[in-house]
């Protein structure tokens, strides 16, 4: 589904942020991506959701080389990948409901077809009573949950989440992890970047660990 082959990345002439990365995410798999602050987790994820191109090597998305995709093909690919951004990236001038429904609107889907789904999803993440609020009036944790709702609403094949529990307490964090696990059971491929040990310790899922831009083996498989 997603395959990295000798991928490296550098920003404007600095040292390599990523070096010689090789891994594959099989359909329906669930991985954690760990590494200390500045290790390159977000940079790696950006290569997957097409917010950047590798400086070297190849990134295959759905068996297509990302560097060779024509511009017109990008929206289709991106619609198959749901992203929870580390900094949320909610649009402040739209309500939470509008924010969450955006991935469907850009596909020109009619509101009647998705309204009830969204309301249900909002209840799931605990925002059922705040759908008409604007992002700036939400607490940090609430914004993060809205961002997660937006990432999953379009039923993407792959979900990429960058630090999705950094602003919520352990209890809500576990609840969100159950949401991801549920989606994974239904066949969604999931990749979660986090520095929160609690999240992956004792979980059955494999872990990709970044250290100074390189993947290092963790115990267990990856």
């Amino acid at each position: 589904m997603i395959r990295f082959e000798n991928v490296s990345l550098r920003y404007d002439n600095n040292t390599d942020v990523l070096q010689d990365i090789n891994f594959e995410l099989k359909p329906g798999s669930f991985h954690f991506l760990t590494g200390s602050s500045g290790a390159g987790k977000t940079s790696l994820l950006k290569l997957i959701f097409l917010a950047g191109k590798p400086s070297g090597g190849k990134v295959f998305l759905f068996n297509q080389d990302s560097a060779r995709l024509p511009r017109a093909a990008l929206p289709e690919i991106r619609r198959r990948i749901g992203v929870v951004f580390q900094e949320f990236r909610l649009l402040d001038h739209l309500t939470i409901y509008e924010n969450v429904s955006l991935p469907l609107r850009v596909c020109n889907i009619k509101e009647t077809q998705y309204r009830s789904n969204i309301l249900e999803l909002m209840n799931w993440v605990g925002l059922g009573d705040r759908i008409n609020a604007f992002p700036t009036t939400l607490s940090g944790g609430e914004q993060q949950r809205a961002a997660i709702a937006r990432a999953v609403v379009g039923r993407p094949n792959v979900i990429i989440a960058d630090e999705p529990t950094g602003n919520v307490d352990t209890e809500i964090g576990m609840r969100l992890m159950r949401l991801f696990a549920e989606l994974n059971k239904q066949g969604t491929t999931i990749l979660i970047a986090t520095h929160d040990k609690q999240l992956w310790e004792g979980s059955p899922y494999p872990r990709l660990h970044l250290e100074q831009g390189s993947l290092v083996p963790t115990y267990g498989e990856y």
Partner: protein, 282 residues
Amino acid sequence: MAGNSQILPRNSVAGPALGAVTATMCFLACLALGAVLSVNKAAHNWLTQATGAVTIQITDTENLTARDQLQAVERVLKRTRGIKTYEIIPEEKLIGLLEPWLGTGNVTADLPIPVMLDVSLNKEQRFNENGLRIELSAVAPGAKLDTHGRWRQNLERGVQTLRVLASLILILVTIATATVIIFATRAGLGTNKQTVEVLHLIGARDKFISRQFERQFLTLSLLSCAIGYVAAASIFHLLFTLMTDMEDMQFYLLLLSVPVLSILMTWLIIRNFVIRTLAKAL
């Protein structure tokens, strides 16, 4: 309901500032075009009258009286291309014209009053002024052709100057407007950079995003161009009413080309600029 709301923040691309500029520019462009149109028409009227007011004056010479030469002049006029009709100005009217100079009752029968002909030209045919002058001097040495040429030239030059000036203003206003629109669009794209990036990342096509920009602009542009046009048209209506000039529908229709072209121009600029910028984005 919410599903149909705007995706870009209100006024973030085409805000009231752009609206005020568009309205003002449309207004000024209408004024400039309207000025050219009305002066053109007025000048046309004057020139028609002036060109129609060709006169021939025949005075006595040593050998021939004015009356003697008249027949020869009439023969020439009859066969000259471009002359529709002519008329001999009655003597009383001529005396009336002279009285301010000579005092009432001083013009007596023995004063050598010249014969004056008022010649009307045929607009459709070319009238060869110099040819007629030469022919006349051959058959009637006392005949003098007066075409008000100098006056007409002055008028034509004045109208020409005004036309150039108005075109200059039109061009300047157009350039200024285009500049403002380009910069405003660029600013709008800058302001909405984050939003555009998010839209791209969740799978929006360039066309979808561009439509958001165009939509916001079109509403505003229609409104402000209408305001500019109506303001200018009202002023012209007022002026025409005051000056009891001929006011016609055609004038306002021609003026309508300004807002129509403005909207078209703005739309093309925005669309082009947005699409090109988006193509370079994520």
